[in-house]
Symmetry: D2
Subunit: 179 residues, 4 copies
């Protein structure tokens, strides 16, 4: 690790940090959808990531950047450039991104040029606020993967760690499959 990066990490997380910290970037998607009765519709709301990590009793050092609140179908090239720049400039080498599922693979491609970091995208098919959701499991997979896998871009959905560049969402079947 370059000394400069080590200094930034110590400044962020403290001198005593012994575990490599994780950067969590939230961009919106189903995982964060809330129901608004006054509108009779669901919208992406304040991210549930902090609450999920607390419920999951995560003691690992991490920080959360709530970067975007968009359905992934609405993400633009500029949004993807912003995500890439945010990650490239951060001192953390382990990165989790929460993201809508429909264009997750496009964002994976936009991050493929970043070197030396293990980046994992995940999301959910049912909002995390539901009693029955895949959100906590998928987020856990991403935490496990970003600490274990080689540098590169990965997607953790449907119980599988996918190469982020060799996967697609099967919308009808409601799952991710290798391609």
């Amino acid at each position: 690790m370059p000394e400069r990066v080590g200094n930034r990490l110590r400044a962020q997380y403290g001198q005593g940090m012994t575990q490599a910290p994780i950067l969590v970037v939230t961009t919106g998607g189903t995982i964060d959808k809330q129901y608004f009765d006054a509108l009779s519709e669901y919208q992406i709301a304040e991210s549930v990531i902090d609450k999920m990590l607390k419920t999951s009793r995560v003691a690992h050092p991490f920080r959360v950047i709530e970067l975007l609140r968009k359905d992934s179908l609405e993400l633009t090239d500029e949004d993807r450039a912003l995500i890439a720049a945010t990650i490239a400039n951060a001192p953390e080498r382990h990165v989790v991104i929460t993201h809508g599922t429909d264009t997750m693979t496009e964002t994976a491609a936009a991050l493929a040029h970043i070197e030396g970091k293990t980046i994992v995208l995940c999301g959910a098919l049912a909002p995390a606020r539901f009693a029955e959701s895949d959100a906590a499991f998928n987020l856990g997979m991403a935490f496990g993967c970003c600490q274990s896998a080689s540098p590169g871009v990965w997607i953790t959905m449907s119980g599988t760690v996918f190469d982020g560049l060799k996967v697609r969402k099967d919308r009808e079947a409601g799952k991710f499959v290798a391609r």
Copy 2:
């Protein structure tokens, strides 16, 4: 992979299987605790693993062996030998074990001699049947880790992927820490 193992995997999971399957071994622990009103007490009950993997929309090939239903403080050397033999003899190379947290590290040590398999132990500090539990996240971490990490024994608790031989539970603090 030896041809013999490949044949057993294909017999178990079908010819078309393209992803390396995961063996899930349940041994009891807090994660599976249920409340029994007629007894006014909690006991380890039917494992919730199947329900959790269904809720988490896992499409990855896996099978579950409900091997034991014990508090981990009650596990004997014979129990650990049984766990080790079950895993050593299984065709799967990726293994997740759900386990009580108090003696998780002892079981990790009892599995250290198994070669060529990525074995991940996880559990929960609050039962999976609770509305707020670390169970789904920890199980997700184990699924992510067992597909990403090198062969060996790992523990995924408190948000961290620990080397299974270099970790201890801090009972008072309610978390796992490296040692």
Copy 3:
């Protein structure tokens, strides 16, 4: 109770029935909303009433009629006539209706002419499928009210048993208030 009605109840619920049975009529509304990932939107789905009553360990005799699956803003005069006829013709004297919250009071007015029955409308501001929802509590209020209150039409929302003809929804405040 007229002999004819008693015969119909015994035919429905068995000779040994000792508690006055409850008819539950579902009409849709937020309480039954599910998220459909393939559509990226929420829609009213199969009613959750049966699951809620099972989770709530209801041993009281009841039957459920899934009559409509509509947002209450879409309910027509014909729909309300159908609801009224269904209840008027049923043998049960205790009735719970699950209903969207926006026009609950209009349906209450359309049921005001039914005599000799205690009818309670309830719904939810957050879908029952959410981990945090008012659905189970509101449904419980309706079960408690329909067995305790005098014949008439009642609404159980926001923790209060309201006279169904003297209440309105305060959409901005997200609660029902007496008027």
Copy 4:
């Protein structure tokens, strides 16, 4: 209502109060049981009533007295005298008591002499902290019943509003039945 009582209510809830307020007395029981990992056992913990009433979006005026934290099998005659005195001396005429299920009927008998108040006991067979519990529904029933029923002592369990003096718990069947 005696003028004196009206004054006490207005002092407690404000001049503008238009709905009869509800007193909630918590005494412990399964409904409030929490799991303590460091002890490997469940104990009655801080009451979940406030959180449940917030999740249920209760706007009705109420106040909560956390009076006892006991398994109902441990309740003494002195405890029951304390519960009775607390309710008799409170200005509210509508009272909900959360209580362990095993001796709920004994406490009901100890409250039978209180006149002019509608008192409803409820509890749960599964802790409220469980994802699947009867707690919210039963508490809702009690809120609905205490506003609708005649003065007296009632028990709302298993989906039924029972006369508190004519009911027993069938421990094996896991439900309350009329006697």
